[in-house]
């Protein structure tokens, strides 16, 4: 695979949506545009088409921060926006602000490879991810915004007898927990993905494990859809607003935040800042079982349909799917050391490309268009946190490793419950901070307390 000279280190903003209103370009304090309710109906699409799509109103407001909210959510990624939406829609808490230091969608929600699945092994994880998948299945309708959730299946390849045995165990666990899994023979795999190299000396294809209801979604649309729907319920989405401190009262409880746009009081503060969780927690004197690591992703030039499922090549963590624009989107392992830099190293690029060519030699002829990196919380057991914290009024949504995009709906759902009721949600009851001290790590790979191994 060739790296083209025009390779950019930019986010995966494949903006083919004419109705995106890029509010990050509009400075704070600028006159607020009055929102005319305009839906994405066929009529409006056609009439806008004739006008060069210049007449769309902004999809959500750009308000000044109020001095006080019932709850503020720090972080305008998928999880923060989903949390605000469900606080408003499920719990009737509408005096809510989402505070985002950049523009929404500029974090991992706009950088990930969009694989959505629920084929997890452990009882502590699967019901949560299965609920997420169910929410995905109705999400476009719920938000009245097309998140382009495509249930094209996720096929994990198997390369030895041991792999097959393990897949049988996993498939059974998935079915027992109420989700779907199907074991594929080698022939069936090769019929589904003809471009695989079947007789690869090192990693011959023995079969596959398919989750049919799994698939991909359009990442930015998830952020935009939740933002627009939350805004319509009264949530203030405040961009270019970095939280710099957490205010606490004499009893130590959180009572608001300091930001680059002034102090904001809040009865409850929820953190959903993905790779920056340790930084925010330290503002309240908390230390987390987390290391920040970066993961890279890649996209090739657009080509005709080549791959109609999402493929996982466990050897080397490689996974690949084809976007609706035709680009092959793929990624593999972490760069491997603590980092807050949203750029990746060349050793991981080489590794990833090697794994891809091993799997499908035909990829060799493609040019790589872009690659980029996102900073993620890697935890000591590979599982997340959705929980109250030892600091009153402060709630934590963190530790998503490289699997948090699929969790977005359920994470917002459970975190909203935790903030509203001051208790863990039953589906996320294992995702508490004290699980390590109690000896209840949720470690499906069995890698132990070494974050870069999960």
């Amino acid at each position: 695979m060739q790296l083209s000279l025009s390779q950019e280190f930019s986010i995966a903003a494949e903006s083919n949506f004419a109705y995106q209103t890029d509010s990050s370009l509009e400075r704070a304090g600028q006159r607020q545009v009055v929102r005319a309710a305009m839906d994405y109906s066929v009529f409006n699409l056609i009439s806008q088409g004739f006008r060069g799509h210049r007449g769309w109103p902004r999809a959500w407001r750009d308000p000044e921060p109020k001095p006080r909210y019932d709850a503020v959510i720090v972080g305008g990624g998928g999880h923060g926006l989903a949390t605000a939406y469900y606080l408003a829609s499920e719990h009737g808490i509408r005096n809510v602000a989402v505070l985002e230091r950049g523009h929404i969608g500029s974090g991992n929600v706009g950088r990930n490879t969009t694989i959505v699945r629920s084929d997890y092994l452990l009882r502590e994880e699967l019901p949560f991810y299965e609920w997420s998948l169910k929410l995905w299945e109705g999400l476009s309708r719920e938000l009245n915004f097309n998140v382009m959730f495509s249930q094209r299946g996720v096929l994990s390849l198997l390369h030895s007898d041991g792999d097959v045995d393990d897949a049988v165990r996993r498939g059974n666990a998935i079915q027992l927990n109420g989700s779907d899994a199907e074991l594929f023979s080698r022939d069936k795999v090769l019929r589904m993905v003809p471009l695989l190299d079947p007789d690869n000396g090192r990693f011959p294809i023995y079969g596959g494990l398919l989750q049919k209801r799994a698939g991909t979604a359009r990442h930015d649309a998830v952020a935009w859809g939740y933002a627009r729907a939350a805004d319509r319920l009264g949530v203030d989405i405040i961009q270019n607003c970095e939280v710099t401190a957490i205010r606490r009262n004499e009893r130590g409880a959180a009572i608001g935040v300091e930001t680059t746009r002034g102090a904001i009081a809040a009865d409850k503060v929820g953190l959903a800042v993905a790779g920056h969780s340790s930084r925010l927690a330290s503002m309240a004197g908390l230390k987390l079982p987390v290391e920040s690591h970066k993961l890279q992703a890649f996209v090739t030039e657009g080509i005709k349909p080549l791959l109609d499922t999402a493929l996982v090549f466990g050897v080397g963590h490689f996974y690949i799917s084809q976007s609706d624009k035709g680009g092959l989107v793929f990624g593999a392992s972490l760069d491997g050391y603590n980092s807050y830099a949203q750029r990746g190293n060349l050793a991981a690029v080489e590794d990833t490309v090697e794994a891809g060519l091993h799997l499908m030699p035909a990829l060799k002829r493609l040019r790589l268009l872009r690659h980029w990196a996102g900073v993620m919380d890697m935890t000591m057991d590979g599982s997340p946190f959705i929980c109250p914290t030892p600091v009153g009024g402060l709630y934590l949504n963190a530790g998503w490793n490289y699997g948090g995009f699929k969790a977005t709906p359920a994470s917002g759902w459970c975190f909203a419950h935790t903030i509203a009721r001051d208790e863990p949600h039953p589906l996320a009851r294992h995702y508490t901070l004290d699980r390590f001290a109690r000896g209840y790590a949720v470690d499906s790979t069995g890698a132990g307390p070494q974050p870069n191994m999960h």
Partner: protein, 91 residues
Amino acid sequence: MRLTCPICGTRPLEEFTYRGDASVRRPPDFNPKNTGAWVDYVYMRDNPKGPHKEHWFHGGGCSSWLTVERDTVSHEVRSVKLARSARSGGR
């Protein structure tokens, strides 16, 4: 990123394996009534944005454990020492 091993010289990243924070200290003894120090040692990390002291293993070279001071934003490497001479705790 490259690391300059005190024994082998400047070598590419692929030769090294990352272990993690070198500032954590193994508690001197085990007290079943107070496991807090062990929980901190095994699980809790400062995870700083900026200078970080960390352990790397030169498996593709001299097999030494190294203590590296590196910035987690710029990736600038400030120093590389043999872990046994850096006496940086851990194990």
